[in-house]
């Protein structure tokens, strides 16, 4: 039986009070409560404070490059579609450097669970604006404050037909643990965008700010209602909804791909070359 202690990892090098601690606590609790062992899934992470996440728990880990979590995660699924795969990225990592991969992972509907630590700023590189930074925020890399409007990833995801779209807040650990479980249980590409206050560099979107602006979506919301979900996802100002916003039952890429569908994972099959003579014959 798995215990909570099995998920203890290295001592985090995050700033004291960082929103990431709430994410880590909620994740460990969720995996423990799901009864999953650390070697039974993979976390692919990128670069940034979020990229260090897998080292602070226990799991199969591919901590790759900035922006490149989703291609690695996609291919792990194609190699082994019995292996659950999480991708942990930051807002700059996923929506900035990796934007193209994000769009195409949603298009494929590969069964990868994407978690974005969305602190609306670049933390590890010390205070530059990220795609989700709000206008007026003071930053270190612009001659002015932020001039552009914040990218709101949720309506982008819903318009792409992303099969699971949710938003959490690192200050609401109980809700977040439940969201991790719902994300885990979803079949298809899932986006869990988590507001995660950066206590050092983001003086605008603080714990207090998120508490004032975020509200839980009422239980009566039906995530399969596309129109209502899209409307909810566009709420990104005075009030911001958290919870499961959208869900659909699209077939996954793994189910559509003939070489995988209804078969054991490729990595569990014989790895030796096969059926060569038939192909060689084509050259005569």
């Amino acid at each position: 039986m798995v215990t909570l202690a099995d998920y203890k990892g290295q001592k985090p090098a995050w700033c004291p009070g960082c929103g990431n601690f709430g994410i880590l606590t909620a994740f460990k609790r969720a995996m423990f409560e799901l009864g999953v062992e650390p070697h039974e899934f993979v976390i692919v992470s990128g670069i940034g404070q979020s990229g260090k996440f897998p080292h602070y728990t226990q799991c199969n880990t591919f901590n790759g490059l900035h922006g490149r979590t989703l291609p690695v995660a996609t291919a792990i699924r194609l190699a082994n579609h019995d292996m659950p795969v999480w991708a942990f990225a930051g807002d700059g990592d996923c929506y900035g450097e990796g934007g193209n991969h994000w769009i195409h992972a949603m298009q494929r509907n590969i069964n990868v669970k994407l978690v974005v630590h969305d602190n609306q700023v670049y933390g590890l590189t010390k205070g530059q604006p990220s795609p989700t930074s709000m206008p007026g925020m003071k930053v270190t890399s612009l001659p002015t404050s932020v001039l552009t409007d914040a990218l709101n990833p949720l309506p982008v995801a819903i318009s792409m037909g992303c099969s699971f779209v949710a938003r959490g807040f690192a200050g609401e650990v109980d809700q977040l643990a439940e969201l991790f479980k719902e994300t885990w249980n979803h079949k298809g590409f899932a986006l869990l965008d988590i507001f995660q206050p950066c206590v050092t560099w983001n003086k605008l979107n603080t714990f207090e700010w998120y508490r004032q602006h975020c509200y839980r979506i009422e239980d009566s919301h039906d995530p399969s209602d596309f129109d209502r979900a899209f409307e909810l996802s566009l709420e990104f100002g005075e009030s911001i909804p958290t919870g499961v916003i959208y869900r659909n039952e699209r077939r996954t890429y793994e189910e559509r791909l003939p070489v995988l569908a209804g078969m054991p994972p490729v990595v569990r099959r014989n790895q030796e070359p096969m059926n060569l003579r038939q192909t060689v014959q084509e050259f005569y």
Binding site: L65, T74, A75, N100, I103, H104, Q271, N275, R277, F283
Partner: protein, 571 residues
């Protein structure tokens, strides 16, 4: 017997249909063959050609004299008339290209009319042309009919009309060629023929490659399309990535998950893959990348050939990343080297690059057969029960030879952890100096000498004690070899062909340097302007070439021009 047929026309006119049908006929008849294509970066129009050389002895490269020139457009004759052999013929359809040529070596063949009358559709005019060529050569039409049957298998209603058109074209060719003096050699056992890219794809399949991800880019797209068509049969996942950055990261993901994985691209796409190559080095994840060169910089000449990316491929990747680089010059070399690249990348967990170019990728060679037993497959991964039975596991464990056991995540009770940051034996990120030093030595210093021990020296062909030595690499194998054959009656000449480019073989296997130092005239032959290989050789061995032949117009060497260039160095 050594004949060359050149088919000139616009893109979309069916040069490929004529070219591939004739190639199939010749190889099934038992002839040796070398065919190559020259095309523009467009789907319709422009001027392209397809050139087939066939003989009763092995042929390796393009030659200039054209024996039969088939003109499907107005540009072919003015552009290529000067290449005609003394008894060479021009075939064209005056009604089709609305042009009339004079001369007793010009034959007006109504390709379209034959196709319409016999087959009921102009579209079969290409089969009429192929038939006419065989008629002029005095070869039987039956093989062409068999080829048509094979090509239209599954479309039964097309087989008979195509066979009729082939026969009618053949009859026209045999009756209307007063000057024909072709003397085809007798039929021997059927051969196979294979293009450069297909040889790489086939070798990947035969090496146990189970994952291929790529973004289309000439001249490597052929590998992607071949594997897309054949992947399912061989249990291979083939994925077109959204960009090359994604492609190489996918390859690393699939490899981490436990499968042999490969990607392919050209210089521009490889530029996007560079960060991924560095990641492969840091995470010690096996992978093979095909870098099919075309002329740069930037978009360059997208459909043409060059050998300018040797040092780019070799030095690509930030940090100190060990790597293996092979450059095959023939399909046989590709079989061996792609197989060896897969074996070494799995054995040493360093990335391997297969360096080709457009001339290699799009050329076609005849082969007697493929010996599938020559392909080696040894699984170095820790899988299933072997992983379950371990008492502990560290992905980057420090070992005497620098190679750590690579386990398949999920197969055993331990986690498999790797990181693009510097990491400890378990794969977790670190900052301390001592671990960093040990890991650098593990990845680079400990592995490199063992890899060097696996590397074969260059191939020496020709005289044992040459007074002239041609040195080259990759796709110039064929033209250098024929130059040696052609000149060896008059003088002591040899070639050194490098296909296992990097690392260089260990000290005890560098006898090639003695040959180079003791030869009076040594010439380095490359398709680039700055002498990329000459620079590498000097860097690795201190040897400095005094003479070189460089071609950088985007076209491959042909035999006659290379002979002339060599002659210039000897007079």
């Amino acid at each position: 017997m050594d004949y060359t047929i050149k088919i000139g026309g616009a893109a979309g006119q069916g040069l490929q249909t004529i070219g591939t049908s004739l190639s199939k006929v010749f190889t099934r008849f038992g002839y040796h063959l070398f065919a190559y294509q020259d095309y523009e970066s467009r789907v319709r129009g422009g001027h392209n050609f397809y050139q087939i050389r066939f003989s009763d002895r092995q042929v390796w490269c393009p030659r200039v004299p054209v024996d039969i020139l088939i003109a499907l457009d107005k540009e072919t004759v003015p552009l290529h008339r000067g290449e005609l052999a003394e008894d060479g013929l021009i075939l064209y359809d005056s009604a089709d290209i609305k042009e009339h040529y004079e001369g007793d070596n010009v034959i007006d063949v109504p390709f379209n009319q034959i196709a319409l009358t016999e087959g009921g559709n102009k579209i079969m005019s290409n089969i009429a042309a192929s038939g006419a060529v065989l008629g002029m050569l005095g070869m039987d039409a039956k093989l062409l009919e068999a080829v048509a049957e094979h090509a239209f298998a599954g479309k039964k209603d097309l087989i008979e009309p195509n066979k009729k058109v082939a026969r009618a074209g053949h009859e026209f060719g045999s009756k209307n060629c007063p000057r024909c003096a072709f003397q085809p050699a007798p039929e021997t056992g059927s051969k196979m023929s294979i293009e450069g890219n297909a040889a790489i794809a086939l070798a990947a399949i035969a090496s146990g490659c189970k994952f291929y991800a790529a973004y289309p880019m000439t001249p490597s797209t052929g590998i992607l399309t071949f594997l897309a068509m054949h992947g399912e049969r061989h249990g291979i996942v083939v994925e077109q990535a959204e960009d090359e950055t994604s492609a190489i990261n996918m390859v690393l993901g699939a490899s981490y998950a436990g499968m042999r994985s490969m990607t392919g691209t050209s210089g521009g796409g490889f530029a996007l893959m560079v960060e991924g190559l560095s990641l492969a080095g840091m995470t010690e994840t096996p992978m093979v990348a095909v870098l099919g060169q075309r002329p740069g910089p930037a978009t360059g000449l997208p459909t043409r050939t060059e050998q300018a990316d040797l040092l780019f491929g070799l030095f690509a990747g930030h940090g100190e990343v060990p790597r293996i680089m092979f450059a095959p010059g023939t399909p046989e070399q590709a079989f061996k080297l792609v197989n060896k690249a897969f074996d070494l990348t799995e054995k040493y967990q360093v990335p391997a690059i297969i360096l080709t170019d457009q001339h290699y990728a799009d050329s076609e060679w005849s082969l007697d057969s493929i010996d599938l037993d020559e392909f080696k497959f040894h699984d170095y991964r820790v899988r299933g029960d072997a992983f379950k039975s371990l008492s502990e596991y560290k992905r980057h464990a420090l070992t005497n030879d620098g190679v750590s056991p690579m386990a398949v995540p999920g197969d055993g009770p331990f986690t498999v952890v790797t990181d693009s940051d510097e990491h400890d034996e378990e794969g977790h990120l670190i900052e301390d100096a001592e671990t960093r030093r040990k890991m650098v030595e593990k990845r680079y210093v400990k592995k490199l000498p063992n890899i060097q021990r696996e590397i074969e020296p260059p191939l020496q062909y020709g005289s044992d004690k040459p007074e002239v030595l041609l040195v080259g690499w990759g796709s110039n194998y064929g033209v250098m070899r024929e130059a040696v054959d052609s000149m060896s009656g008059d003088r002591e000449i040899a070639m050194l062909h490098f296909s296992e480019i990097y690392p260089f073989p260990e000290e005890g296997r560098r006898g090639f340097l003695d040959v180079m130092n003791s030869t009076k005239t040594t010439i380095c032959i490359e398709n680039n302007v700055s002498g990329r290989f000459a620079q590498l050789l000097r860097m690795e061995t201190g040897y400095k070439f005094e003479r070189s032949i460089k071609k950088y117009d985007g076209r491959p060497f042909n035999l006659e021009e290379l002979l002339e260039e060599i002659d210039g160095h000897l007079s």
